[in-house]
Symmetry: C2
C-alpha cells in the first residue's frame, strides 16, 4: 500500500493529522486530503514536502 501519513507542522512541532492518505489537492489557500477509507478533510496549510518512500506528507500552516 502506498498511502502516506499526513503531518502538520505548527510552531515547529509535527502533528499527525491523517493516516492512509492517498489523495491530496491544493485548493487556493487550503489543501484537501483524502484517505483510502474515504475520510476527507480540508486544512488551511501549504505543502512543505512529500516523501513517498518514507510515507510522509508534511504540511505547514501559512
Amino acid at each position: 500500500m502506498c498511502e502516506s501519513k499526513a503531518y502538520l507542522v505548527k510552531d515547529g512541532v509535527e502533528e499527525l493529522i491523517m493516516e492512509s492518505v492517498d489523495f491530496l489537492k491544493p485548493q487556493g489557500e487550503e489543501i484537501l486530503l483524502r484517505s483510502i477509507f474515504g475520510e476527507q478533510t480540508t486544512i488551511k496549510a501549504r505543502l512543505l514536502e512529500m516523501d513517498l518512500t518514507g510515507h510522509r506528507i508534511v504540511l505547514e500552516t501559512p
Copy 2:
C-alpha cells in the same frame, strides 16, 4: 514500490516529466522532484493534485 509518475499539464495536455518520483518539495514558484534513481529536477509549476494509489503526481504551469 510507492513512487509515482509526475506529469505536467501544459495547454490541457499531460506530459510525463519524471518516472519513479519519491520526493517532492515546493520551493517558491518551483517544485523540486527527485526519483528513486537519484534523478533530480526543478520545474516552474504548481501542484494540481496527487493520487498515491494511482501513482500520479500532476503539476501545472502557473
